[in-house]
């Protein structure tokens, strides 16, 4: 079959493109004047909804499919589970809070500002307790950062699994945070800040999900945040206060932050031993793999975003990010990595934040193997799946930042595949 088509491949491509274009002619190409234009529409005649109707707005009903989704069989209970950001349907870089993924180890809790307390203790001159109001009196900063679960794309170690970028890459969000630098609070308590010290951070929820952070990072860019995208954090993201650990795995971004302890060694809590460690082919495991390496993915076209408009102008769009700094370049391949073109960045990338990229093309209706490849300011190039497996084997769960492939067929339908 393969050979039969080879001699006349080009001719065949042209033929099929013409067919596709004819078949997909939509309303805009309709024969004759469009009644949406020529006839008076209800919405252009009657009045709309008043300003007293919606004190806090939800997206319009037509967008109600753009929601977080979970996969029931992934975990034993939805209370210790994960859902996924609908990144296929978003553009730009900021993730609205209402559809930003959630990962809880024992459910999202409702903790009010009056009930909120934050303790700093351990190797400090003076152990302190802060209220929520106290935190708002320290000088604060604004930063946009991505938060990616270490298990994002984790299933794909075993090959192409779930058919949708929401499910393969949706354990990520990107928000503008307002908060107090952790170093300010450490200083307030007179913490010992030599490089061999650690900061153990713990949440107020039942999982008491604690993590150890080396002092150098704690003094660098970690934020004790209380606002995201301009408004209070959502319950599911740690209202009223969460930790923001830029560029590092999401599990360290402790929600409902209640305690900061300065210690002389890592606590080696469950979340940094049993979980969030990476087992390699020979059975040894890497620990303290905190940084999220450079990664990118095409969000459209993708399995949930097929090409429905036929041939002609097509916008390929995607996201790139790196826990080591800024994204400097993204390349896109349409043939599974044989040839690459440099994509256009939506705007200059922020450090440790999502960067949007676009490749504008004319689609001739030929199948494509779409891939994207990110580079960050350290010169690191996003690896292929084969490169990752060669280094680490396949028994890992976390830190899969491989190049993703979508097979787009002649009808514009995209599927998650693995290629040679």
């Amino acid at each position: 079959m393969d050979d039969a088509f080879k001699p006349s491949r080009r001719a065949f491509l042209r033929g099929s493109a013409a067919v596709a274009a004819a078949g997909l002619a939509g309303a805009a190409y309709a024969n004759g004047p469009d009644p949406l234009i020529t006839e008076l529409q209800d919405w252009a005649s009657y009045t709309g909804v008043g300003v007293d109707e919606t004190p806090y707005g939800m997206p319009i009903s037509f967008e109600s499919h753009v929601v977080r989704r979970n996969v029931e069989w992934l975990t034993a209970s939805p209370i210790s589970s994960i859902n996924f950001t609908p990144i296929h349907a978003l553009d730009g870089t900021i993730t609205p809070q209402g559809c930003a993924f959630e990962r809880h180890h024992s459910g999202a809790i409702e903790l009010s500002k009056p009930d909120y307390r934050l303790m700093i203790n351990g190797l400090v001159d003076q152990p302190l307790v802060f209220t929520y109001e106290d935190l708002e009196r320290f000088p604060r900063e604004n930063h946009v950062y991505f938060c990616e679960c270490a298990a994002n794309t984790g299933m794909e170690w075993a090959g192409a699994q779930l058919n949708g970028v929401q499910f393969t890459h949706g354990m990520i969000h990107n928000m503008e945070y307002t908060g107090v630098p952790l170093r300010t609070l450490l200083k307030e308590a007179g913490a010992e800040v030599s490089r061999d010290k650690w900061v153990y951070v713990e949440g107020a929820d039942a999982s008491s999900n604690g993590r150890s952070i080396p002092m150098e990072k704690a003094l660098d860019d970690v934020l004790v945040a209380f606002k995201a995208n301009g408004e209070a954090l959502r319950m599911e993201h740690g209202y009223p206060v969460r930790l923001v650990v830029p560029g590092w795995e999401g599990n360290m971004w402790v929600k409902w932050l209640r305690r900061i302890e300065v210690t002389d060694m890592a606590v080696e809590s469950r979340e940094e031993t049993s979980k969030y460690t990476d087992v390699y082919a020979d059975g040894t495991a890497r620990k303290w793999t905190w940084e999220m390496d450079a990664k990118s993915v095409i969000t459209s076209p993708s399995p949930q975003m097929p090409i429905t408009h036929g041939t002609g102008p097509l916008v390929i769009s995607g996201l790139a990010w790196s826990g080591h700094g800024r994204i400097t370049r993204v390349d896109v391949s349409k043939d599974g990595g044989i040839t690459w073109e440099t994509a256009r960045l939506g705007k200059q990338g922020d450090t440790k934040a999502l960067t949007r990229f676009y490749l504008d093309m004319d689609w001739d209706g030929a199948p494509m193997l779409l891939q994207s490849r990110a580079m960050d300011e350290t010169g690191y190039v996003q690896p292929t799946k084969a490169q990752l497996r060669e280094k680490r084997g396949e028994n890992s769960v976390y830190h899969n930042n491989c190049i993703q492939t979508w097979y787009v067929n002649a009808e514009g339908i995209a599927e998650n595949v693995e290629v040679s």
Binding site: S274, G283, E415
Partner: protein, 436 residues
């Protein structure tokens, strides 16, 4: 560092070199100072320039041009700064702000209970294997199995030795956990699921001793305490290395990537295992993808080898639907009840299609005979209550939920109880709202 300031520097000659060096050295904490220094410098430059202007028009023009160029460099610098955290570092203060208050010793004792790998933080107390088994069966086995082998999808806590090099390693306390402190600390603070923080030190020591026993790591006469803690050897204590990606991966993966003819031919070797439907009401349904890779083209630099005749059909695109408006009269009470039910939801389901989980499904529980859900295996207390024909009334329910263990001796329900009367009232109302 972005490109644009680099492009500007050569045009600026001497001044640019100075400014360029300033940017090159710029560091996060001092960027604000640098920018101020630059501003002073611009003022100096423009002051000079305007005095020159009084003397000669030509020089004035040059000064204006210079000023503009300096402004451009500054703009570029601030664009650069916006990308990082240099824009507006929060001011430092040498002294303290005097915010917060001193923590009380009792407060620290209540919250600072973590245990370090060397055993610091372990409380007084002890527990033996057999006591541990009893507590485990009562409080943990419903999810983790009588022998810590894990029920259904719940975590396995024992076994899995010699599997770490397999494709699906079984990572348990025995096969994987490097520190015993972690087991004590995690069980004490985070388990049982839905009743975290309720285990005493003695109970925790006993459970941990039992988990070790289930993993063949101690004998059945073992007693765990602060004193015996360091005697236990963890199987995988030596199994971890600190992140070595910088040496093993980054060093190699920082090369300029290939852009053309990077491979001869590319074939699709695997298709998505699960096709996913995304129903408008949320969640997702996945089905196995039966399609084979056979009918798919391979790719060369010429493009795809052929266009498949019959392309696979897509999963139906979800049709957007309007959200129904929800409102009812006893809303507040039910809302509160719904909230309280989160404490139960780890083990119980209610509502349409509710199934038995760790505990029985609770549809139509009010007025129902105790212990009567089909296919659920109750403890003896409930079996007897069922035989005696006892029925769930709001009063009985409140008494049970306030103190499950007191109300029903030997119950399997590992739940400490609801303390607040309003929570009891709310949960009863909430449960009442679910019919059979």
């Amino acid at each position: 560092m972005s490109k644009s300031p680099n492009i500007l520097w050569p045009a600026l000659g001497g001044t640019a070199l100075v400014l360029g060096a300033a940017f090159g050295l710029m560091n996060r904490d001092y960027a604000g100072d640098r920018i101020e220094a630059l501003e002073t410098r611009v003022e100096a430059v423009s002051a000079q320039a305007s005095s020159a202007a009084e003397q000669a028009e030509a020089e004035a023009a040059r000064a204006a041009a210079l000023e503009q160029q300096v402004a451009e460099v500054q703009a570029a610098a601030s664009v650069m700064a916006k990308g990082g955290s240099v824009t507006a570092p929060a001011p430092h203060r040498d002294g303290r702000y005097g915010l917060g208050r001193a923590a009380y010793a009792e407060e620290i004792a209540a919250w600072d209970v973590d245990v370090l790998p060397d055993g610091r933080g372990l409380p007084e107390g002890s527990g033996d294997v057999w006591t541990g088994e009893e507590v485990f069966v009562e409080q943990c086995a419903s999810c983790h199995g009588d022998f810590a082998e894990g029920v259904d999808n719940w975590p396995v806590l024992a076994g899995g030795f010699d599997t770490l090099a397999d494709k699906d390693p079984v990572k348990t306390v025995g096969s994987y956990w490097p520190y015993l402190s972690t087991v004590y600390d995690y069980v004490h603070r985070s388990m049982p699921f839905g009743g975290a923080g309720t285990l005493s030190a003695d109970e925790t020591y006993a459970i941990v001793a039992y988990i070790l026993y289930s993993n063949d790591m101690v004998e059945d006469d073992f007693v765990l305490s602060r004193d015996t803690f360091m005697d236990v050897e963890m199987h995988n204590a030596e199994g971890f290395v600190v992140d070595d990606r910088p040496e093993l991966e980054y060093a190699e993966w920082r090369a300029e990537p290939c852009m053309e003819n990077c491979k001869e031919e590319v074939e699709i070797t695997m298709r998505s295992v699960f096709l996913v439907e995304t129903p408008p009401e949320g969640g997702s349904n996945s089905v196995m993808n039966e399609a084979a890779v056979d009918g798919l083209p391979s790719f060369t630099s010429e493009g795809p080898s052929f266009i498949p005749a019959a392309a696979p059909t897509p999963a139906a695109a979800p049709a957007p639907v309007a959200t129904p408006a929800a409102a009812s009269e006893d809303d507040a009470m039910l809302k509160q009840g719904e909230k309280v039910f989160r404490k139960c939801a780890a083990c119980h389901a209610v509502g349409e299609g509710a199934k038995n989980k760790v505990g029985p499904q609770l549809n139509g529980i009010m007025g129902r005979t105790m212990g009567s859900v089909d296919g659920f295996s109750y403890s003896d207390g409930f079996v007897e209550a069922n035989a005696a024909g006892k029925v769930w009334t709001p009063e009985e329910m409140a008494a049970f939920l306030a103190k499950p263990k007191t109300y029903m001796k030997g119950t399997k329900m590992a739940f400490a109880g609801l303390r607040k009367d309003e929570d009891l009232a709310a949960i009863t109302a909430y449960l009442q709202s679910f019919a059979e």
